[in-house]
């Protein structure tokens, strides 16, 4: 049905305008950060239209001489390790929860959700005290352990969800053919749930990568992560806005390809129903 009445056109114009305004809202801050990152230090407080040519790449070189790159490395290491260990423990657990008939599945789903939703301040107070006593403040081990409180529940939940979508018959058939449960898991179920596993690993990495709170409390200078290290560009009497913009871009860029891969699984794993 093709409607070309003036009324239809007006409505369409309103709709398009609304979308453009929202697009502006979504895009302006990103563009602004990109612009800040290439402004020369002495023109950064001038409106762009007064000195449109005062751009430089120096800010990017300057930041390589700061502590920020090593903080980025720390972020990669701790987010990577906590994701790896959580996958190691969480993927088999997700499989078993999806396929077995153990009791207490509702409790399990509640605990997993609760751990993801609980305010981190509750975890961090006892962790901080325990770490001070155990000498784990400002160590990779301490931070990886802390991140596992975030990554493990998320990964078990996502994998539970992914394995629920693998048909039971597939695993039953493999076991009928004489495969052990371990083999059925590794050779049949896991390959079938591989996209879900990739997404779970990405989601785990993202929550650890984005963390600010844990790193703020339990790291000092040597294992500080990038989100905390950005704050070093703010000093008592001045703010290095150009470096902050460069650092924000450096924090976001590694995530973009991961988001592109995981985006449709984000929807599934966050809202998807867990089948019992």
């Amino acid at each position: 049905m093709i409607d070309r009445s003036p009324e239809y056109r007006l409505k369409k114009a309103v709709g398009v305008t609304m979308m453009l305004v929202l697009l502006l809202f979504a895009a302006v801050p990103t563009l602004w950060a990109l612009l800040l990152s290439v402004r020369t230090p002495d023109t950064i407080f001038e409106p762009i239209w007064e000195s449109p040519l005062a751009v430089t790449l120096d800010n990017f070189f300057k930041i390589t001489r700061s502590d920020f790159p090593s903080a980025l490395m720390n972020s990669f290491i701790t987010a990577g390790l906590s994701t790896f260990f959580s996958m190691l423990v969480g993927v088999p657990a997700g499989f078993a929860l999806a396929k077995s008939r153990v009791s207490g599945k509702f409790i399990a789903s509640w605990v997993l959700l609760l751990l993801r939703m609980a305010p981190p301040v509750g975890f961090v107070i006892p962790l901080f005290l325990a770490y001070v006593n155990a000498g784990l403040i400002d160590t990779y081990t301490g931070l990886v352990f802390a991140y596992m409180t975030l990554t493990l529940p998320l990964i078990v939940w996502s994998m539970w969800n992914s394995f629920s979508q693998v048909p039971d018959e597939l695993i039953e058939a493999a076991i009928m053919d004489g495969a052990s449960l371990g083999k059925a898991f590794l050779l049949v179920a896991l390959p079938a749930a591989r996209p879900g596993a990739v997404a779970a690993a990405i989601l785990g990495f993202l929550v650890a990568w984005n963390d600010f709170f844990y790193a703020l409390i339990i790291t000092r200078s040597s294992t500080t992560t990038a989100p905390v290290a950005v704050m070093n560009f703010i000093s008592y009497d001045s703010v290095d806005w150009a470096s902050i913009a460069v650092a924000s871009i450096a924090l976001t860029l590694p995530i973009l390809p991961l988001m592109a891969i995981a985006n449709r699984y984000i929807v599934q794993s966050l809202s998807g129903a867990v089948k019992g």
């Binding site: 979308m19 929202l22 305010p119 301040v121 529940p153 809202s271």
Partner: protein, 298 residues
Amino acid sequence: MSLNSKKRAGATFELERGYRRMIVPAIIAVAIFAIVPLAGMLALSFSDYHLIRGSNGEFGFRNFIKLVNDKRLMNSVYVMAALSLFGVAAQVIIGTTVAVGLQKIVGKWRLGRVLFLIPYAVPHVAVALIWLSLFTPTLSPINAFFDLFGITVPSFLTSQYGAIFAIVVADTWTNFPFAMLIILAALQGISPDLDEAAALDGASRINTFIYITLPLLMPALLMVTLFRFIDSLKHFPMIFVMTKGGPGRSTQATNFYAYVQTFQNSNVAYGAAIAVLLFIVAAIISFYVARLNQRVSS
């Protein structure tokens, strides 16, 4: 019982034992990494532990009695409620609007949806810093733009409601794409036949949306609202970076207040008591979400 079924029962038993063995490591890990700290939090909340003075070994309900009369706690709850209410409402409304708009876009413009997703990829500290720069009058291009017309944009971060507004804006910017993603997925599950049937019956587009699309979107909207609401209880980086809880205590949400009591005032036991309070709220909501999930899947 025939021999065959006995054998099968034995095999099922074996299988279930195998499954249990796969779950045990995760249970141990969750116990160590999560349950133990939570038990620690609970124990601390009944203690009198102070980061500098240590403890006199007294246990009791003192902290919880103090909570009841704490005006700063009440203030923090109001702040949290304001941030959650306005933030979640804005995210759900903008997210749904964009999703409905994007769904109508077909062909090569479809790639445009990536533009709406970028804010979701930016880590919260970076979100806070970018919006801090946009709310800094001497730096902000928004202020510079309005100056051209002789309009002075007020400094939001130095006024009580302005600061709350600023945090809501930053939070909405980075989180509306989450609502958008889920609503978009839900919209794709709704048959276009329904829209067409309504149009043939003479229903206007707006009526079709309100009476047909919206009720079908309800489960997704509920899910988004709950998830975003729970996350909004954890507000931290944006407050820490943009306002430090100020001006005064006007953006000191409860989670941030627990941090202030614990790590700035060294009042660990009292901070833990506030954390327990937040934890109970999270426990109730997650129980509800888990029940909801169970119903959806059965």
